[in-house]
């Protein structure tokens, strides 16, 4: 095995561990806020490590840039999604507040 492949395997395995931690957190954590925490922390690092591992074997620079772009987009998406969900739970729209369409 070449050194690139060894590094790739190492980083993919670390990414897998983070995904496992995220899934365990999703199942085991007691309330929604801590589950959000498990999602954002473990998930972005997991995808980051797997992307890092795949860059070593991706072959070309444009493909590597696309991999990094995918990771950045997933980070933007999941962190803002977690902000939306958390904010939505912390400031729940009261009954009737939606009547004028201003209370989301």
């Amino acid at each position: 095995m070449k050194i690139y492949e060894i590094l790739s395997v190492f980083f993919c395995l670390s990414g897998g561990i983070f995904f496992l931690a995220g899934t365990l957190g999703l199942i085991r954590f007691p309330d929604t806020y801590s589950r959000l925490h498990a999602l954002t922390k473990a998930d972005n690092l997991g995808l980051g490590f797997i992307v890092l591992g795949l860059i070593f074997v991706a072959g070309s620079i444009p493909e590597s840039i696309k991999l990094v772009l995918t990771w950045l987009l997933a980070m933007i998406g999941s962190s803002s999604a977690c902000y939306f969900i958390g904010n939505h739970m912390y400031h729940p729209p009261k009954a009737g507040e939606n009547e004028d369409g201003s209370g989301i």
């Binding site: 987009l73 933007i76 803002s80 902000y83 939306f84 939505h88 369409g101 201003s102 989301i104």
Partner: protein, 306 residues
């Protein structure tokens, strides 16, 4: 390893769809359906059809979730658990059909090539480099034409039965400022860019009009969801022209081909014709999907009394 992976994907697809039917709550069914789309995309990947995997990713991640959530907002009653009644009259034909399908799969010879060879032989005539785009826009142009027609008719139907056709009236307040507007500023240019990239890719690689159109439609729905007024600023006439552009471009192609030969849709073999039709179809698919989502009966429209 391949077999294990395929078996697990297949079994989980069956299991998840069973749970969707049996779900007690609407919301649970929606989340399961989103997961189902994800697993389906993985299945298409394993079947070596990246075109369908990309289309499934775009529709499943972007538009299907939004449509289902808006439907949920419009519903007022909780879901009743579907009763599973298996009647004998239905069971026997179903088992017969399943047996017939299984037999037909066994009947396919091992080295079956399908129409792949024929398409590959005829590919140079179209001047395209990717067989699936050639099939969709040239060899089976009639099918694509009529599919665009079906989409257009669906949009017309939705626009007829909804209460308002004023796009500004359906605008929503921006959710969860300031992140809501920040993420639109960040993601919208990327959505347009990636939609264009997929369209451009269609000439020689997996991608094309439908995938690009769905991503552009997602960009429009994103604008609408964030309450940005620019969709409403678009002149109504342009909206209508772009809605029809895909169907219209096929019609123009069919009519003008009568001058070359005596048959419809036998255009001169140039890449420009096909790509022109594809670009028009992309815009029209995007606009049709945006109109369909905007026509969905979200709760907020009802309450505002528009």
């Amino acid at each position: 390893m391949d077999l294990v992976f395929d078996l697990i994907i297949g079994l989980s697809l069956a299991g998840v769809s069973w749970r969707i039917v049996r779900a007690r709550e609407h919301f649970q069914a929606i989340v399961l359906f989103i997961t189902f789309g994800l697993l389906l995309s993985l299945a298409w990947t394993r079947l070596k059809s990246p075109d369908i995997a990309i289309a499934e990713a775009a529709v499943g991640a972007g538009l299907a979730g939004v449509l289902l959530m808006d439907t949920l907002g419009a519903l007022s009653s909780p879901r009743e658990r579907a009763k599973v009644v298996i009647s004998l009259k239905l069971l026997i034909p179903c088992l017969f059909l399943a047996g017939l399908m299984a037999y037909s799969i066994l009947y396919i010879p091992e080295d079956f090539q399908g129409l792949g060879i024929v398409v590959r032989e005829a590919l140079p005539q179209t001047h395209l480099e990717y067989p699936i785009t050639a099939v969709l826009l040239d060899f089976r142009g009639y099918d694509t034409w009529l599919e665009l027609g079906v989409l257009l008719v669906a949009v017309l139907g939705v626009l007829c039965i909804r209460r308002t056709d004023n796009i500004k009236g359906t605008m929503l307040p921006a959710p969860a400022e300031p992140v809501g507007s920040w993420i639109v500023k960040l993601l919208l240019p990327l959505m347009v860019l990636i939609g264009g990239y997929l369209l451009w890719l269609g000439a020689f690689a997996p991608g094309g009009a439908f995938q690009g159109g769905v991503v552009l439609a997602s960009a429009g729905v994103m604008l609408w969801q964030s309450g940005h007024p620019s969709l409403g600023l678009m002149p109504r006439l342009w909206w209508k022209i772009l809605l029809c552009s895909g169907f219209l471009s096929f019609l123009i192609l069919a009519f003008s081909s009568l001058f070359y030969t005596d048959q419809l849709l036998t255009h001169p073999a140039t890449k420009t014709w096909i790509l022109g039709v594809e670009y028009a179809a992309t815009l029209s698919i995007a606009l049709c999907l945006i109109s369909l989502v905007l026509g969905s009966p979200a709760r907020n429209h009802e309450n505002k009394g528009v």
